[in-house]
């Protein structure tokens, strides 16, 4: 960097349509179309930022960044090579009216099939467009459709605010597919399954958020080079069992991931993090790439109103060879985790989480709902000797995360 003034502008426009469900009825509709824009001005080896919500233009943003009293941060980085590209996917003609009609039908189907359940939730159908331009020649745009819907359900008279949920995120709504895979679980909601303390095979229908967050934190350059993370000093070493491969997916339109560039304008490809158990890549932004004499991995993420932070996009375990229900059929007794949140994973990778909703399955058949319990293990064991297998598919067809089976300790409350 020198004293030459340059700038970049990140514009995030989101047009969204929301349907609200309260007490098993559609009760509200929301329309939003909000533009949020952030600018960075590079001057005297400093970066000065500004951010505006609503309609604006480059001149207004750059003037705001250069206003008297604004504070810069050190710009000890090499700006990316000029790049242009449009990575835009359409909603394939899906209209808001059609989404409303299909969602209403799906809700009516659930209401008639399960009249003793109460549903609350929301659907969001959005198209988010990200455009990054710079005085250095960046002009990059990505966009695509996104559906994010959930229905929390509770048994009538339940003291809980929810007894479970049906949820899906992706580029298409998948109403039928999502409801179909949940039907067997919903039908067993009133059947209690006996389970005792002990070690069980455990099926994770979705990855645990705490584990995802811990891996994300520890593979960033901040943590890796500080020596504090659980992967510190282990680049190129085998850290997990060979069946474990993890990628950071930013562009996978089939899952609704549309990012081909990061918040600094660095073009990127999907990145292997763990390959057959070997730790392959640390995540870098431009600043840390320069600091540690390497290349940015395109993980300098930035909101319209934030600085750069190093984060993965979507950590996704590579699928195995066998479908989850086929693996489940081979297991005499398996705990199926539907909702498990509130746990933690510490610096030594000891992991424990309470499980709010789980079912017991015997040779692939759902027996019934388990009582409140906790599960525990160590991540090195889960991704090592206690790994039963990573499935070929996700619970809801078309989602990015394959189901996974581990041997774990179960503690019934």
């Amino acid at each position: 960097m020198n004293n030459v003034i340059s700038n970049d502008i990140l514009k995030v426009s989101k047009e969204s349509f929301h349907i609200k469900v309260t007490g098993s009825k559609i009760t509200g509709l929301v329309q939003k179309n909000i533009q949020k824009t952030g600018a960075r001005v590079f001057k005297n080896n400093q970066i000065f930022s500004s951010a505006i919500v609503g309609q604006t233009n480059a001149d207004e943003l750059i003037a705001a960044a250069q206003r008297l009293g604004n504070v810069g941060i050190d710009a000890d980085l090499d700006l990316p090579a000029p790049a242009q590209g449009e990575f835009i996917l359409s909603a394939n003609g899906i209209t808001q009216d059609q989404v409303l009609s299909d969602f209403k039908s799906a809700l009516e189907h659930l209401n008639s099939t399960f009249p003793k359940l109460v549903f609350n939730g929301e659907l969001e159908f959005s198209i988010q467009t990200k455009n990054l331009t710079s005085s250095g020649g960046q002009n990059l745009t990505s966009a695509g459709p996104w559906f994010d819907w959930y229905l929390l359900f509770k048994k009538q008279g339940s003291k809980n605010s929810m007894d479970g949920h049906i949820t899906h995120k992706g580029p298409t709504p998948q109403f039928k597919e999502t409801i179909d895979v949940n039907l067997e679980l919903l039908r067993k909601l009133d059947t209690a399954a006996p389970i005792k303390n002990g070690n069980y095979p455990v099926l994770f229908l979705q990855p645990d958020e705490q584990i995802q967050a811990k891996i994300a934190e520890d593979i960033s350059a901040y943590k890796y080079h500080s020596g504090a993370g659980s992967f510190a000093g282990k680049l190129g070493h085998k850290v997990f069992e060979s069946d474990i491969s993890i990628q950071d997916l930013s562009y996978a339109p089939q899952f609704g991931f549309y990012d081909k560039f990061d918040g600094e304008g660095v073009l990127r490809e999907n990145l292997s993090i763990i390959e057959n158990g070997v730790f392959k890549n640390v995540l870098y932004d431009l600043r840390n790439a320069k600091k540690y004499n390497t290349q940015s991995t395109g993980n300098g993420l930035r909101g319209y109103n934030s600085g750069i932070t190093i984060r993965p996009y979507n950590l996704t375990t590579t699928a195995g060879p066998t479908a989850w229900h086929e693996i489940l059929k081979t297991i005499p007794e398996c705990l199926v985790i539907v909702v498990g949140f509130g746990g933690t994973i510490d610096e030594n990778l000891d992991y424990s989480t309470p499980v709010q909703i789980s079912y017991l399955a015997q040779y692939g058949e759902i027996v019934g709902l388990c009582p409140q319990l906790s599960i525990k293990s160590n991540l090195k064991d889960m991704f090592g000797a206690k790994l039963i297998g990573v499935a070929a598919d996700s619970f809801v067809p078309g989602e990015p995360h394959p189901c996974a089976f581990y041997e774990m300790e179960v503690i019934v409350h």
């Binding site: 329309q31 951010a51 109460v118 109103n305 600085g307 709010q356 525990k376 409350h413």
Partner: protein, 453 residues
């Protein structure tokens, strides 16, 4: 034109609907982040936006806009869209709550402090972190907000209100050989001055954290547990507060019976409250986003279920008084039933007596995470064995969990101390609205038979 005049001068009687309201928010926010000593974010911004809400033919329609000249057109557009819906439901008329002007911080708020002064303050704390050789990785995050809201509805209620809040949090990872321990400390201030001169407190807290590097892990099992006010707060918020939000009972008359007011749900020493009236807290909300005045709501009074939290819709549906808990995260969202400052009232037991009763048990301080359904869970930061009437030996514990109702009946003592935990960083999440500023707290409490793992 300022937002109050713009909103108060709206003529909402011309909008063809059963009910409508407009909320305009003018928000100043600053964010600073220091990663391992490097300043990586330093930014302030101002946002002005309006949330439009209208009910007609049994359907709510909402819209968020940033061009305030389009408020009237936006409402007319929503009214037009509502024509396709049909409903036989009778809309319950809303009451006019009058006009309220509740702006208190106009002359002294976070928008008046320069970004350079904020950066200098945050950077001054880096040396405290750097002075500890065991700290290998750290993040200091600073966030503040000054928000003015102006509101008007079609039955005549109008208000202008402001909110001023700032915090910084220091997150640090201690490493020594193969041993690691992560911890954090958070500070909050309604005014910027409240965030200054924290060096000694920070240094002492970090030193107290070092013994946890070599602390043994606790055997999982049931323990007698002392919760500090922070843990009491997250238990109160997650376990009981969310279940007291009346919107989850809509469409479920049986749930109202299950949550029948007047039944015993806790030991008599327990009174549990939600109140938006605590002016020094991040849960301060003297008037909600529907124009309802906040109040002190006893959810549990001396062990008896006494109330629940309402917005206007749930209050009308359940024929119970409003409580001023219709809150929205910002101008992009509609008001739903949310907490404000939620806490257990302090009791009469002196702390030394409380610790004596807990001999052989565990003391928990601070939390990383809390969640609640019928079973609540808390991931604590620090744990100690209680020996000789005090928290003595540091130990490691991952999760505390228990049944909400059993735990409320298992409370053995309620301390005579009290602390309300506030923050401008993070907040409460519900549905898609996160983070909403809230506060939570209470006294130190003693609970028997808690699952620790």
């Amino acid at each position: 034109m300022n937002i109050k005049d713009r909103v108060f001068n709206l003529d909402l009687s011309i909008i063809d609907c059963d009910y409508c309201d407009v909320r305009v928010e003018d928000v100043f926010e600053a964010t600073i982040r220091i990663n391992n000593g490097d300043l990586t974010t330093c930014l302030d911004q101002k946002t002005v936006g309006a949330f439009l809400r209208l009910k007609k033919n049994g359907m709510w329609l909402y819209s968020s806009i940033t061009d305030l000249s389009q408020i009237e057109n936006g409402l007319k557009d929503l009214a037009q869209k509502a024509k396709v819906f049909k409903s036989t439901e009778t809309e319950i008329p809303r009451k006019n709550n009058g006009v309220h002007e509740l702006v208190k911080h106009k002359e002294n708020n976070y928008s008046k402090i320069s970004l350079a002064d904020k950066r200098d303050l945050v950077q001054s704390y880096v040396k405290i972190v750097n002075a500890v050789p065991q700290i290998k990785s750290s993040v200091i995050m600073y966030k503040d907000m000054y928000k003015i809201k102006a509101f008007k509805n079609s039955v005549g209620t109008a208000f202008e209100y402001d909110f001023n809040s700032g915090s910084f949090i220091v997150l640090f990872d201690l490493t020594e050989g193969e041993n690691n321990f992560s911890d954090y400390q958070r500070f909050h201030g309604v005014q910027f001055e409240n965030l200054k001169n924290k060096e000694a407190e920070m240094a002492a807290y970090i030193q107290e954290s070092i013994p946890f590097l070599t602390a043994p892990t606790i055997e999982p099992g049931k323990y007698q547990v002392v919760m500090n006010p922070q843990i009491t707060g997250v238990f109160t918020h997650e376990s009981f507060g969310h279940n007291s939000e009346a919107d989850f009972m809509l469409g479920d008359p049986l749930a109202v019976q299950q949550w029948r007011l007047g039944q015993a749900v806790a030991v008599p020493q327990v009174s549990l409250i939600d109140s938006g009236l605590h002016a020094d807290s991040s849960g301060h909300c003297p008037i909600d986003d529907e124009g309802e005045i906040s109040q002190k709501t006893y959810l549990i009074k001396e062990g008896i279920l006494n109330g629940r939290l309402h917005n206007i819709e749930t209050s009308n549906e359940m024929n119970e008084p409003t409580t001023g808990n219709g809150r929205a995260m910002n101008f992009e969202f509609e008001p739903i039933v949310r907490m404000t400052a939620t806490y257990i009232e302090n009791g009469t037991t002196p702390l030394d007596e409380l610790y004596k009763k807990a001999e052989g048990g565990l003391y928990f301080q601070g939390y990383n995470y809390g969640s609640g359904m019928s079973t609540f869970t808390i991931a604590p930061v620090r744990a100690f064995r209680i020996k000789n009437g005090k928290a003595s030996e540091p130990v490691r514990a991952t999760v505390i969990s228990g049944s909400v109702f059993e735990t409320l009946m298992n409370i053995q003592a309620v301390g005579n101390d009290f602390d309300l935990n506030s923050s401008a960083i993070g907040g409460c999440g519900k549905m898609t609205q996160m983070p909403l500023p809230v506060a939570m707290g209470g006294p130190t409490i003693l609970v028997k038979d808690m699952q620790v793992s």
